[in-house]
């Protein structure tokens, strides 16, 4: 019974992990950039829900109606006016810009909210549902539904809409996408906006599950990395599956060993199957460089030699 309870807990926990990794997966898979501020976006999402609950007295889940568009806009504008410009000079300047944004957001949140631990609470936070002898917290079920719905909606958006197709085209080959009439810079900004919007949902999930501080972004970022490496870049379904795997490892390993086992698992993947994690990434980044969003003359020169 203990194992069964652990598996159920792991699956429920996996939903939260999946949504923590979703934005990072999009950022790496489409924009080809490690957004070091993603953890802070998640914390900002949690604070936004907390403020809306305090000011308007609304349920944390309802706060998403405001926090999702707010984070989308923030992510879009930061990408459009800061990161895209830095990306023209290469990957490193863009990475430094996201690091700078991370530091600014962290310090701003510390200034505004203080260093106190916070937690999002709701009336149903302590309700437990009994199912076949297993005690399942209602909150965990709701968080899994939120995570699953977000991932499903994003999947449908990417598959069925014209903007979604443009995002997939840019993810596949930014150079060819640009020569098909797609504004790659704007598509990057939309993708970054969506990644930040998922951070609003992730902030809600993390905020209801754990206590957080202005400095919690680093921890969330690390979890997001693990999920992305297990699930694959830009792979929405893979992110969900990776979240489940990570949740199960955490639940079965317990509080003491869960994290340790997870990171050993991460190192094993990177050692045994680095191709899926990084070679595909570098290949896609090469195509992004060709398009001219990132300048990488040496790579462009190799391509030139190959084609002539």
């Amino acid at each position: 019974m203990y194992i069964l309870q652990a598996i159920v807990n792991g699956i429920l926990l996996g939903g939260t992990y999946a949504i923590l990794g979703l934005g990072m997966s999009l950022s790496l898979g489409i924009v080809r950039l490690t957004n070091l501020a993603h953890g802070e976006y998640i914390v900002l999402g949690a604070y936004t829900s907390m403020l809306l609950q305090a000011w308007l007295g609304i349920d944390p889940f309802l706060s998403l109606v405001i926090s999702v568009p707010f984070l989308f806009l923030a992510g879009y504008l930061i990408q459009r006016f800061l990161v895209n410009k830095a990306m023209k000079n290469g990957e490193e300047p863009a990475l430094l810009v996201t690091f700078g944004i991370s530091v600014i957001l962290k310090d701003a949140m510390l200034l505004v909210f203080g260093a106190d631990a916070r937690h999002l609470s709701a009336d149903y936070g302590n309700v437990t549902v009994n199912l076949a002898g297993l005690g399942i917290p209602l909150l965990n079920i709701l968080l899994l539904i939120l995570s699953g719905t977000s991932i499903l909606l994003l999947h449908l958006f990417l598959q069925r809409t014209y903007t979604g197709r443009a995002i997939r085209a840019v993810s596949d080959d930014a150079g060819a996408a640009s020569l098909s009439g797609i504004n790659v810079g704007n598509t990057f900004s939309i993708a970054a906006g969506i990644a930040a919007a998922t951070a609003a949902a992730a902030g809600l999930c993390a905020g209801m599950k754990w206590t957080w501080y202005p400095s919690s972004g680093g921890r969330y970022l690390l979890i997001a990395f693990v999920i992305v490496v297990i699930g694959g870049l830009g792979n929405v379904g893979g992110t969900f599956a990776a979240g489940m795997v990570f949740g199960l490892i955490q639940a079965v390993g317990g509080a003491s060993y869960g994290m340790l086992i997870s990171y050993v698992f991460l190192i094993l993947i990177l050692t045994l199957h680095p191709h899926e994690a990084f070679l595909r990434f570098s290949d896609k980044r090469r195509k992004t460089c060709e398009e001219g969003i990132m300048q990488e003359p040496s790579v462009a020169r190799e391509d030139q030699n190959a084609s002539e």
Binding site: Y162, R165, A166, R168, A169, S171, D172, D173, G175, A176, A177, S178, L179, S180, G181, I182, N183, V184, K287, E290, E291, G292, P297, S298, A300, R301, Q304, N305, S307, E308
Partner: protein, 241 residues
């Protein structure tokens, strides 16, 4: 830029890093003609296409499209203006179906309504012989069909000028005939074509004018027969006895 010309290179210099490939390239392409480009390996043919599509910014010189200078225009705007391109090694969006590839070109390149884009995508798929493969993931296509798809996606974006980079490269003789028949039909559809090809014999039958490049410059341009018969082409490109 003279009347009737659609593309004009005016003393374009460009390269990658410190390596200069185009060293003052000048030529013009007339509206509706099939303009062939030949030259030895490394002479800058593909670089010329990269400059024309905006993938590579020239360090100096001016580039005109219908009397409008486009040297600083990004690639997607050039596509929307009417410049479409295929690659020597096809670059379909492998995560999408054939239909979605073409539809993406129609929606974003041509900028038409959803209904018009769908109709255009279906029309172009029929014209390129891909209608029965429209639901197949593009990554599963053969090389010939990938080349067809490249052409279809470019055509769906509503171009006036089509840039063909070695469409016959890597194809068997029978496949080459098929793709050449398709390319031959482009003239009837009133496209202006700039065509790089190593298979000169095949290309000569379909071109109105031919330019030979060497060392990043236009060394001779004119009637294909005259160009091929010129001493400089024999020396530079075909080798002299």
């Amino acid at each position: 830029m003279r009347s009737g010309e659609i593309i004009s290179f005016d003393d374009i210099k460009a390269g990658y890093g410190r390596s200069r490939i185009l060293k003052g390239l000048s030529f013009s392409v007339r509206e509706g003609e099939v303009f062939g480009v030949i030259g030895p390996n490394g002479c800058g043919k593909s670089t010329m296409l990269n400059v024309l599509t905006g993938t590579l910014c020239p360090s100096s010189g001016r580039l005109f499209y219908r009397e409008k200078e486009i040297s600083g225009l990004p690639s997607y705007k050039r596509c929307r203006l009417g410049i479409g391109r295929t690659w020597q090694i096809p670059r379909p969006f492998t995560g999408m179906t054939v239909y979605d590839n073409v539809l993406t070109g129609a929606v974003h390149g041509a900028g038409e309504s959803v209904k018009q884009s769908r109709e255009k995508a279906e029309k172009v798929l029929k014209e390129t012989g891909l209608a029965d493969k429209s639901r197949i993931p593009s990554g599963e296509l053969t090389l010939l069909d990938r080349k067809r798809l490249e052409l279809a996606r470019a055509m769906a974006s509503g171009p006036e000028v089509l840039l063909l980079d070695e469409v016959a490269a890597g194809l068997t003789e029978a496949e080459t005939k098929e793709i050449m028949a398709l390319v031959g039909g482009l003239r009837e559809r009133k496209y202006t074509v700039i065509w790089i090809e190593h298979n000169i014999e095949t290309m000569l039958k379909a071109t109105d004018r031919l330019m030979c490049m060497a060392d990043g410059r236009n060394v001779i341009c004119g009637d294909p027969g005259e160009v091929m018969g010129s001493e400089i082409v024999e020396e530079l490109y075909l080798g002299k006895d």
